[in-house]
Symmetry: C2
């Protein structure tokens, strides 16, 4: 496995891979790798001839300085996991390699970022879209793998790819969960044992929304309230949002029909967790 | 010469060219081709194995609807010129092929667009940057050719390429002029004979700025005023801006030293013309 820090060296390495005629698969990460990332990497390994994992904690996408500061960094363990999984190349640039000078041009994400995390984290998805576009230009992958846990991020990346005609196939990978339903996330490391016990309330609230929708509930406000009501009243827990949105445009639905995404952000102590579930309504979608 | 309207068909055609091992050279245009475009195409032909010209009047970069409506469209003549010059592929998409749906993501150009045309044409360079990024993703050229006549556009594209690590070499090509100094532009077609006689005032004003700077003038305001004073007082002529800027960042200089770009936009009747000249001061630049 090659660990590369410079853009130019990475390009050289990948040009060789491409000359050998293989597909390049790309898994962009911010490190602190867990079994969710492993699922992305395993898919890339199965489907591509050369698997590239980037590890870069992107300052541009953090709206709160303390979140950036406390974001877990576990590079030696990350490299070990990548090697074990058979990754071909790890791209682990320093911030100065990705941003040698302040950017003059960035991607402005419109409507798809107007709700959910986009509403509560100003600039976050502009930062995500900008760094992912940079990474796509650097790696030029045939396929790129993103977890469904970050559903709005996936929707944003799909829009970037479509709006700018980026020649890459976006491959969504299902969320990996702990036995109690908690979605794997690098941020779970920051939960203390008490908070860890409370955290699955997020998944259970989404399951309640899914259950009501499967039974035919069609009023998003009633489903929202019923789902939120399952979350224990605890001073450690604060719901930032729980919304029912259409899965492509990420806009709240006025009536539940067809496929709807239930998405939630829950603060557990000082840690912000997000999760989502695709819900199928028995009511046919009328377009 | 292949004339292609669909993104997918173009990609297929260029994949074949790339498999043959050649460099792809790209000349993005809005059509109404003239000898200035011919100079871009000839450079591409000399330096690349496959030359692609795009002809697309990009609605996104027009700040005034009447300018978009009256922009000259001469596709048959354009195709004839491309064939004569030995172009390999013309990409001439309809607006619906480039923008099948309203964009959710666009490029936001910062500081480099804060003066000159960027100041007077709100959104113009965001539209330019966005469509050029799309075209770069579609064509994936090794080199792309841009005229120095549109100096700020060139500076914006260089920033897009640098900020997003786009794997393309930007090749600037010197401005082509009529015998009386008027820079070639598709918009020159819209001048009536009387306006055409007045139009070289633009070039002459820039020459005056260059002369004064070569003689050691260091006060940008005095040079500006002296250059503007050369423009005849005629009700047909209106100076939009005449500025002295540093050539990379396109910011007005406070003192003239080293290389400075003199740039001007002049309204001639209802037609807006732009031009620029690189000026060398005998005063050494102090950084």
């Amino acid at each position: 496995m090659d660990v590369i820090e410079a853009v130019a060296a990475l390009r050289e390495r990948l040009a060789a891979a491409r000359r050998a005629g293989g597909d390049v698969g790309f898994v962009p990460t911010m490190g602190a790798l867990h079994a969710g990332h492993a699922a992305l990497i395993e898919r890339a390994r199965r489907e591509c001839d050369c698997t590239v994992v980037s590890i870069f904690v992107n300052p541009l996408q953090f709206d709160r300085p303390d979140d950036l500061e406390h974001y877990p960094r576990t590079l030696p363990a990350d490299l070990h996991m990548c090697a074990t999984l058979g990754v071909d190349v790890v791209f682990a640039p320093a911030a100065a390699e990705m941003y040698p000078a302040p950017l003059s041009c960035t991607i402005e994400v419109g409507r798809v970022a107007s709700h959910l995390c986009g509403r509560y984290r100003p600039g976050h998805f502009n930062g995500v879209a900008t760094v992912v576009m940079k990474l796509f230009q650097i790696v030029q992958p045939d396929r790129a793998y993103f977890g469904e846990k970050d559903a709005q991020q996936l929707a944003v990346i799909r829009r970037v790819v479509r709006d700018f005609n980026v020649p890459v196939r976006i491959e969504p990978v299902p969320t990996v969960r702990e036995r109690d339903g908690l979605a794997l996330s690098s941020r779970n490391q920051r939960l203390d044992p008490e908070e860890r016990k409370l955290a699955p309330a997020l998944y259970r609230a989404l399951c309640e929304a899914r259950r009501l929708i499967a039974e035919g509930a069609d009023d998003p406000e009633r489903v929202r309230q019923a789902a939120i009501a399952t979350i224990p009243r605890d001073q450690c827990l604060r719901v930032e949002y729980l919304e029912l949105v259409e899965p492509d445009g990420m806009q709240p639905v006025e009536r539940i029909e067809g496929a709807v995404l239930a998405a939630c952000a829950l603060w557990v102590g000082t840690t912000r967790l997000i999760d989502n579930l695709m819900c199928d309504s028995p009511r046919a979608r009328v377009d």
